[in-house]
Symmetry: D2
Subunit: 264 residues, 4 copies
């Protein structure tokens, strides 16, 4: 078993310098603590709660920045895709393509993503059970690509609320694919602020630690130097200056978890 | 206020003759009982539970059949779209474009649908609250197209189960847009049969009647002459030979409901 | 099939005059519209959200008032019981004993209630499925008392929210016992106002109408001449001066529903 | 901060020898690993799914056995109470009285329990939010007794299913009272086997570990030498011969968690 890998970065790409600053800082933090690191950022927020939420830089400029991060910081990058065509374009650059939760049942995008040969991180739809993900993964695997990651990001629980069921992690792990905990979005309150989604940033480390203690492969976490002024997902991003402490403590739980594997 | 309109037909297009047979029968039933009628069928099932679920005829052949139904039976047609491009193509033929529930937060498809100038039936995501649909509708309305319909089809309720909250209908009606009850999919059990979704056909008339008694604009209901051998959604489609009785009784509730409007 | 019966009155007994006023008014309204009527009020609120919620008059004075209502207004009365001993005492007076939802799995109170020989209205626990009520009813029926009513009052749906699943009504009706819709509590927001429960009064007529259209036996509804100053459940009680209109329209739906029975 | 305490034993008391055997074994295991230990068993199962579920030995014989365990094994004991009177009787013997989840809003039993002066472990109702427990605790605290423990045992999540929300643990800890994770009942499937509740024994260690990693005070876990033949809760009890390994690994997570306190 490998040490924990962090998929971390800002919710959306802002500028080249901003991406570089966060990637550099996170890569250093992860290296210090023996963790793997993948830079995460979105070039387009395609499903904002309301029309006037900021969409992002667009795919062209976004991928240029991701390419720079990859080359200059030397870390792999992950970004989310929203159409079959974007799979092909983003697959030229990104090491990992991420399927958004809302799109996790759309067969064509799963196939297109698989066909790129890149690793595919599939977020579990908020409307899916953990065991439903086996058949979702099969769609990608049917392309001959088995570099699949399955990601918990919360399940609908009443209105405007998600709950992360810890049983989902070992359940998804039964597929044999590595399991990721999205600590940022599982504490989101979708649509909970009227025109945008709310969140409970203070619970992201809670979800991360509970999940890591079960022996997962990876944690997805969004971070920003000033979450409250970030263009999206501010309410649930972790301030960048808290990431060193968080990564450090999670790596201790990761080591202990991997020395004591759960058999479910 | 107008009499109730039925959006009804088979889950997916099978053959031209089959579509024609169902459209003719349903149009006659609705005419007899004073109901409006729109033929519904899908040319592509883009989000089947598993990869080996039948996908359908494809958009080209599908639209040809829908055009024939429109011309020969003389009723409007509704079909669902899954990409921006499909909006443009299907918008050449269909009177109503339907946004699938899983895609109800995808800004680009909502805009592309709106731009066709066709009526847009937006299914409420299983992960959305009824009041979230106001901002979803705004995305379509931003294109200058206000021919919007909002459709309840159930909300995630634990795993592999949906619940249809009757409060959602008057809540969505506050937007001023006509409200549709999808009696077929609100009794679906997503993923509930392992490799496909289960359903509780016997409850579709229950959901339809409860909703109609509240004074809604339209009922969406899938029907088939032999649901158990249909290529998809068999477990929750209504047998075609029960539709006359069902439409007849629902129209009585519709008249009573519209004579006694609820003020919520 | 019998016409709809209303179980209606204030949430809690306040004074003899107040009970008499409401019972008289409701009995007259129900008589006018051909509905059955049972006066409902509680002598003790045993499970308030917080300790400083008003508890009520107590069982002795409460039962005296219920007895007076029974004799002077000539209508049956229903009240809720919270212990085995209360079953025996209240069973001397009340025509119907009501088992609170939180207590719907407590074997001893179900047996004690059954042994009184009175009709027993069992509220479905917010934590139970409709089909679980068959085994709950069996506990009462084991005493030889089959005057059982099963009452929907909402199911937990995320935090501080309930949802009333219309499928629950015909599901519970399969037991053969009459089914009651509690239109008041199914729109409650438990604990939703911090130190007390919130509610959405405007949706109580929605829930009542949807349920009545399915052909149920009875509607439970709390009413008060001034809900906003009532000692409990103000946010979801219906103003008394709206009850005539509400009963009148529900009786129209009741007749139509009973002429068109659903076969589930 | 104190090391983790285990509240552990069989679901229900069977015989004196059986109780003694389990208590002795568990006390030894906990001592070996530096954990606290409280023997847990019920003298009466007052809310079985169906009438023909075994109820137990009764309070008199049950308390006699608990007293023997206390004296001979030298560990404190916890048992659940179902009426005010049982509080007084069981409070003569048990170190901790436990309020069942279904009864967690019943004011009188909370007050009666508080008045015994014993420690009170209140299970969070499946229908309550974590933040609702503050007002529940206030009912007990109003008696001058602040030896209160708040216990997560799962929240209703659709029908016949519970989910344990990890956010609930730090949320309840904000009250200042010690927090307990019930690893056994949070994986219960209430009513899920028709005439009895199902369970997912394999997930109990998952829930326990996730919770312990957050730094809680105590784990509640039911164990039996032969769960499949136990008179109740068999599907979610842990085999006794696995408890040594489980306690050992949980104590490692406990130490790490308490060295790295989360600040929520």
């Amino acid at each position: 078993t490998q040490p924990l890998v962090f998929l971390a970065g800002p919710c959306q790409l802002e500028t080249r310098d901003h991406a570089m600053m966060i990637a550099e800082r996170m890569a250093a933090i992860c290296a210090t603590h023996g963790a793997g690191y993948v830079f995460k950022a979105s070039y387009d927020k395609a499903n904002r709660t309301s029309l006037n939420g900021t969409r992002g830089l667009g795919i062209e400029e976004g991928l240029r920045i991701l390419e720079d991060v990859r080359r200059e910081i030397g870390c792999p990058v992950v970004t989310d895709v929203h159409t079959e065509q974007q799979c092909r374009v983003a697959g030229e650059v990104a090491d990992i393509l991420q399927i958004p939760a809302f799109l996790s049942r759309q067969t064509d995008i799963l196939l297109a993503a698989g066909q790129t040969g890149r690793a595919i991180n599939i977020k579990k739809g908020q409307f899916l059970a953990p065991w439903d993900m086996e058949r979702v993964a099969e769609k990608v695997a049917s392309t001959g690509n088995d570099k699949i990651m399955l990601c918990e990001r919360g399940t609908s629980f009443g209105y405007n609320t998600l709950v992360a069921d810890m049983r989902g992690l070992p359940t998804m792990a039964r597929t044999g694919y590595p399991v990721v905990m999205d600590a940022t979005h599982s504490v989101q309150q979708p649509g909970g602020q009227g025109g945008s989604s709310g969140g409970q940033r203070e619970f992201a480390p809670v979800m991360a630690r509970a999940a890591v203690s079960l022996g997962i492969a990876s944690v997805f976490i969004e971070t920003h130097e000033a979450p409250d002024t970030a263009p999206s997902d501010g309410p649930n991003m972790i301030p960048l200056d808290q990431m060193d402490g968080l990564v450090g403590s999670l790596m201790q739980f990761d080591r202990l978890a991997k020395e004591n594997p759960l058999h479910v």
